[in-house]
């Protein structure tokens, strides 16, 4: 039976931006986000013959690859320390004007707060706002849909508190 996989080019075009945004919310710099996004699609490209759309949506499949690639990135030696340093100095972290021009400043600040959340909270926020359903988020994070909702709402409150704390500190 013929596979009903869409052409990979379509998947690539449809999801490149979303995957990049998801990764960008996890890591401190756009350069790292580009590297990881490239790895995600290289891996997906190689594995596409084995992708079975009857079992999983392209979004869930790609975000699983992206999540693993991001975790690999953090596991790589020294990366976590680098990330921490990058986050701590985030306002100065992006020196490339062209890269900065691509991201709205206010959202960059918000994504910094997302990146500072504990791993699972960060993941829940990022996956949910990348367009995944709670069911898909739960599936990716190995928990139930309800647990994913709870985790997400807890993360949302933590994020709100972090943003409010920053604003108070500025005032």
């Amino acid at each position: 039976m013929a596979s009903d996989r869409p052409p990979f080019e379509d998947v690539y075009r449809d999801y490149l931006g979303r995957i990049y945004a998801y990764v960008r919310a996890q890591v401190g710099t756009s350069a790292d986000a580009e590297d990881i996004t490239a790895q995600v699609f290289m891996n997906a490209y190689q594995a596409y013959d084995r992708f079975e759309p009857r079992n999983v949506t392209p979004a869930a499949w790609l975000f699983r690859i992206a999540r693993n690639a991001t975790l690999d990135h953090f596991r790589a030696s020294g990366r976590r320390d680098r990330l921490q340093r990058t986050i701590e100095h985030q306002p100065e972290a992006e020196h490339d004007p062209s890269a900065m021009a691509e991201e709205r400043i206010q959202y960059r600040a918000l994504l910094v707060h997302v990146a500072r959340l504990p791993e699972r909270q960060r993941d829940a926020i990022s996956l949910r706002h990348s367009g995944l359903s709670f069911e898909e988020v739960g599936h990716l994070m190995s928990c139930s849909e309800d647990a994913a909702k709870m985790l997400y709402h807890r993360a949302l409150k933590a994020l709100r508190d972090a943003v409010a704390g920053q604003e108070q500190a500025v005032e």
Binding site: P7, A21, Y45, L111
Partner: protein, 404 residues
């Protein structure tokens, strides 16, 4: 804080997050760049297969994505000028594409112990032990390659003469050489198309983007360039071959090393390949093959009448020397005793009659240097579940004691 106020705050934050994720996108050019890189890592047959399958999409989407790259892998060529007239040293500019004449007589083993070129499946899917699935079979054609275990028998005819062939070597280039090459095409470094890793340089010229990539040692694949017009260039000339030559000629990139031009077409997608070969001291040529035993070289991609990209080896200096080579009889013995490149096996293990042999060049990479080494490429076919598979065996000809 009241529940209502908290809800409103959280809703506002959710909207802000929606906006943040919806508007956070990679820089301009990244999508094309990454696509090119992905294409460059795919074997020719896979790209052609996909090109056939997605021609409709190509028509719809015109050339925003340099699908021209659709061939880059094939395009990927060997780096550099081959031989030399006057001493093996070729100019580092792309004029070094100049075709050499004959192999020089150099001291034996001047390069030291050589790495061993080998075939491997790369990205080519291999049959599974319980037989291919229906969808898998549908995706394969009659030229399916099999890298797994097989019972081999030689039934062909070896050449009467022993081989005489040189070994060629390049040193891995740095960014400065890529810059020189780009400058020779009128392109300059472009931060907008720069990538974090994986490139020696990215450049923009008048209506084109140029990327230069280093050796990919895991395949291996020599350093190469991709030149992608920012919009498709109308293919002039009487036919695709002329159009490709004219396009390359515009940038002085027509390969001058020995080559054979091959044109492949599929539903509006045309790939013009310049299959690279090396001249042999006794006359004739030996084609360069990649890690699956397929000839390759520079390429030009034409989609729906428009040229969407070209790729080829980065011009590099090549040194050459000679090594002691094994005899033809020994080559046959080594072919029959060879270890399969993949453990993925068809069951029962197929019996394959190797019926043909070709003298080729294959690349091996070690210690920051690439080596083009002569080898025999044996091949035979067998049938399995109604499919015809090809089994290839690469036997490097440099004496094993001179290889690492």
């Amino acid at each position: 804080m009241s529940d209502d106020k908290e809800d409103l705050e959280l809703q506002a934050l959710q909207r802000e997050l929606d906006d943040a994720f919806a508007t956070t996108r990679p820089r301009r050019g990244y999508e094309d760049e990454l696509w090119l890189r992905m294409q460059a890592r795919r074997p020719l047959r896979t790209r052609l297969r996909d090109a056939i399958g997605s021609v409709g999409a190509l028509f719809r989407q015109a050339p925003a994505i340099p699908l021209g790259a659709v061939a880059v892998l094939l395009m990927v060529v060997v780096g550099a000028g081959i031989l030399l007239n006057s001493g093996l040293r070729l100019s580092p500019t792309h004029s070094s594409y100049a075709q050499g004449a004959q192999a020089p007589d150099l001291a034996l083993s001047e390069f030291g112990k050589l790495p061993t070129p080998a075939l491997h499946p790369g990205l080519v899917p291999a049959p599974v032990s319980n037989g291919p699935s229906a969808s898998y079979s549908a995706a394969l054609d009659q030229s399916n390659l099999y890298f797994g275990p097989a019972t081999l028998r030689w039934t062909g005819q070896m050449p009467l003469q022993s081989v005489q062939a040189a070994v060629y070597r390049y040193a891995e280039p740095g960014a400065s050489l890529a810059d020189q090459f780009a400058a020779s095409l009128g392109a300059s470094s472009d931060k907008q198309v720069r990538s974090g890793t994986g490139f020696l340089g990215t450049y923009s010229g008048q209506a084109f983007i140029l990327t230069v990539q280093p050796t990919e040692p895991q395949l291996p694949l020599e350093p190469y360039f991709n030149l992608a017009p920012t919009s498709p260039v109308t293919a002039g000339g009487a036919d695709s071959r002329d159009a490709a030559a004219a396009f390359l000629g515009r940038y002085s990139l027509v390969p001058s090393w020995p080559n054979e031009v091959k044109v492949q077409q599929s539903n509006g997608h045309v790939l013009v390949q310049y299959l690279r070969s090396f001249q042999l001291p006794g006359g004739g040529v030996a084609y360069l093959v990649n890690w699956i035993g397929q000839r390759y070289g520079a390429s030009v991609d034409i989609n729906n009448g428009g040229i969407t990209g070209a790729s080829g080896p980065l011009p590099l200096n090549l040194d050459a020397t000679t090594y002691r080579l094994i005899s033809n009889d020994e080559a046959v013995r080594m072919a029959l005793a060879s270890t399969p490149a993949s453990s993925q096996a068809i069951q029962p293990v197929p019996a394959v009659d190797l019926k043909s042999v070709e003298l080729v060049y294959a690349l091996a990479f070690a210690g920051g240097r690439g080596y083009y080494e002569p080898a025999y490429l044996f091949s035979g076919t067998f049938s399995y579940n109604g499919q015809t598979y090809t089994k290839r065996v690469l036997v490097p000809l440099v004496d094993p004691t001179l290889r690492s």
